[in-house]
């Protein structure tokens, strides 16, 4: 058989194997490739095999590049997610702090009764607003008068 013809067939089969659209189709084309490769003189076969191996190596490189690309996408995605999470966390902390501050402010503000007591004691430093009897806290007469006076005003 004409070597040129076989050579052409081998190259054609190689292209078909590389471009097969399914595994089953690749197998069929690979069968043809093997069929024609065997028809080549032995001296020419390694060259064909080398070409085949080059094609395989190229394919592996392409696959590796694809894997790296996918990994990079995954890393960037994870990074973006982490940043988003940190931002959400910061917002939450600010919100909690604001709430806490509001609570503290509410605690610092004295009750009206306490305010009266403080004012009374400031006005009359030598008098007490309450006295203790049998463990109970009882308003003093002076303080009662002060309260009545304040209310009527």
């Amino acid at each position: 058989m004409d070597i040129e013809y076989v050579d052409k067939k081998v190259l054609k089969c190689q292209v078909l194997v590389d471009n097969a659209t399914s595994e089953a189709q690749r197998e069929v084309y690979q069968g043809y490739l093997d069929f024609w490769t065997k028809k080549l003189p032995k001296a020419q076969r390694p060259e064909i095999i080398a070409k085949k191996e080059d094609a395989k190596a190229e394919k592996i490189l392409e696959e590796n590049a694809e894997i790296a690309r996918l990994e990079m996408i995954a890393i960037e995605k994870a990074k973006a997610e982490a940043e988003e999470l940190a931002e959400a966390k910061a917002l939450k902390i600010a919100e909690l702090e604001a709430k806490h501050r509001a609570e503290l402010a509410a605690l610092d503000e004295p009750e009206p009764e306490e305010l009266n007591e403080i004012n009374f004691e400031l006005l009359y430093p030598n008098k007490k607003a309450y006295r203790t009897q049998n463990g109970e806290r009882i308003e003093t007469i002076a303080y009662k008068e002060y309260l009545n006076k304040t209310e009527s005003e």
Partner: protein, 281 residues
Amino acid sequence: MAAGDNECRMRLYEYRDIGGGILGDLPEHIKAASPQLLDIYIVATPADAAGFLEIDPPTSVLSSVGEVVETISSSADDGNDAGDHLQGISAIGINGSNKMVTVQMLATSAAWTETLHTEIWKNIFHSFGSKWGTGDRDPAGAVDIRTVGDTVLVELVAGDNEGNGAAFVVPHGHACMLYGGRLTRITTTGAWANDEGVAIRIVYIDTIDALSEGGAGAPAPADRAINWLEYIVAGQYGNQYVDIPKGFIFPEDTQIIHQDSSVVDGGEPYTLHLQYLIWKK
């Protein structure tokens, strides 16, 4: 035509070509599926011995996986030169999308050396010449359609525009209906032999039957069910033709093969016209 000789013309018509009158009695859902019509016309003479043989079989059958094919001519006088003889060959078969199609494949060089075509084929059933130069209106050499591994599938012999192949497979995902036909006994003498006639079979092998070809899990030979429809025209008196009724349905992936036989032992010429409707389920 000598005993044992046969010729088949196969053509595939699209719905746009057949939509009018002949499909009038079809249910609407089949019409809605735009069916195709596979038309088979056989002229043959069975062998001079009773026994069914396949009519005009293809040279080889594809792997059904889906692959590209090549065309080639044995003569440098076929090719794409204006003065060449055959310039294009058409094939009927199933493409990579499981659709029955007719595709014309053209020569791309002046001497028609092996030419790779882009269509993906799962099956090729028949071929015929479809484009000519000014040199002649039929092929100068043998023109064939082959795999890349050089297995010839169907072929035109020199001087003949109609290739071999009278069998087909119902494409996957499709249904097929025998849409009638006629078997006609022909005489060259004007007299009919009383003790002779012609018989034909439409053999249908569905996917389960095909499993009996072999392999693990294949049914035992006794469980095989290779089926056929048989029609006979014989004897001296009465009509010398039989109308083949329409309506028989074949499921997807069924292989359909045509066979003939002389009723006794004298091959007589006949014509067989069959039509099959094919539509996507």
